[in-house]
Amino acid sequence: MQLAQREQIDKVARLLFRTTGLLVIAILGGIFLMLLWNTVAFFLKVKPMDFITGTQWNPSGSQVSYGILPLLVSTILVTFGAMVIAIPLSLGTAAFLSEYAGKTLKNILKPVIEMLAAIPSVAIGFLGIVVLGPGIAHLTGQSNGLNALNGAILLSVMALPTIITVAEDAINGVPSSYKEASYSVGASKWQTLIKVTIPAAAPGILAAIMLGVGRAIGETMTVLMATGNASAFPKGFFHSVRTITATIAIEMGEVPYQTTHYYALFAIAAVLFLITLAVNLIGEHFVNKYRKYQEA
């Protein structure tokens, strides 16, 4: 083949590769525009203040109301509960993996964590119904154990692998000279871990937690199956709640296109999108901080 022809092909290919790169921006932009467009359509029909401060989500009753607060509080409650469980467990496991476990134990534990990460969310939600739910019901004397606590425990299981993996990388990345300095002044292994290694890895650990929070907030199937989905304002961990994701999943299949209710579901999705975006940006901030710190 002629050189000129080969160079021509090379140029075309370069253009093609570049186009796919730019298309990625278009996809994120498209998701953003879709949410914005439908949210604007929603706010033409419902006052933004009623949406933001409304304490009732009741799109199909006689007194129609589109208040996001009960859904938002449910989402925050379940995510908070999940983090209370997942953060100590995953930090303990990450510290154990990087500082205490030998090579053999590591080779067993790593696949365990990878397997946990691979289990589909719908299977975890199923166990919330058949194992955890009856367990909680038995302990609390409720008729079924489908409540915020159930969802929080399941979400913590789902967030664990993410937090453990990223936090372990962060702990591993702490220069050994830090630890050696600590040992040389007589500190024990534990003192070094608590006072030197974990503080030094803090930005990386925070980034890990943010990734876990992002996963928990956006998770749909587990909370849909395990939290009972009562649309009343959430009262606590032992009550049924209905998160933003579950509301979209339940109601989107039933609403006619381009009704107020249809637009309302895009509006709560837009709120969810903004929350996960903020969580990811905070996580990224910590990652950059950690990187700078390591390079220094």
Binding site: I9, D10, A13, R14, F17, R18, T20, G21, L22, V24, I25, L28, G30, I31, M34, L35, N38, P88, L89, S90, G92, A95, Y100, V112, I113, E114, M115, L116, A118, I119, P120, S121, V122, A123, I124, F126, L127, V130, V131, V157, L160, I164, K189, W190, I217, G218, T220, M225, T245, I248, A249, M252, L265, A269, L272, F273, T276, L277, V279, E284
Partner: protein, 281 residues
Amino acid sequence: MSKKLASILEWGTLLISTGTVCFFLVVIMWDIISKGAASLSWDFITALPTDGMTKGGILPAIIGTVLLTLITALVAAPFGISCAIYLNEYASDNWTTRIIRASIRNLAGVPSIIYGLFGLALFVQGLHMGTSLISAGLTLGLLSLPYIIITTEEALRRIPASTREAALAVGATQLESIRDVVLPSAIPGILTGIVLTLSRAAGETAPILFTGVAFYINNPSGYLNQEFMALPYHLYMLSTQHQAIEQVRPLAYGTALVLIIVVFLLNLSAFYIRYKHSKNE
């Protein structure tokens, strides 16, 4: 408190955390395997559901999930590899590149239910594809894209610059160097990333809820423009929406087990590719 006791307590805290994490996995696997195995039979995976879903097998759901995953791969793999090639081989460090990278990171963090809404708005309604296998496959393809780009770029980055320079030095154009030298050596890494991403896509439910999945299709044709059954959605419906929930519980367990087997098989093949490759090096 004696020093020895303190160190046992400290060590114990970490050990208990790790033990709890393992305990979660054991409970999940034990429950699904022990109860799912009873429903698992040749008939279960090769027969159609009968008697209003209370008997029979889950063949259409297995076929649906396999087809859906294939479409996801066909959509996301070429697109993702091409984008990763651009980022790693061509792009200079300018603001366009930075925006592309930021978009990829953010796409990876977008909740799967929002992909479902996007698929509904774009494919089902906007492009008039209706609720169908192709709409759902395209939606899952978009969801998988950022992961495939990230893993492919990692695989490309591991190929030393000298490899490319050697190809360019003997007169190859950049495309020829990528096609004949860089890609062949990066293939195992790329494949591992794709298969792992697909294993996640196969278990996804939220993105397909409004884009084409159905609880029961009496004549599973596999046509792209028709609705389909899928394992994760089948499990969801059997465990929450069926009118005889207790009666179909064994079927739900069996479905859960088959789903987990499919996902783990995909994972295992990814590890096999990685393992074989690391041995060759």
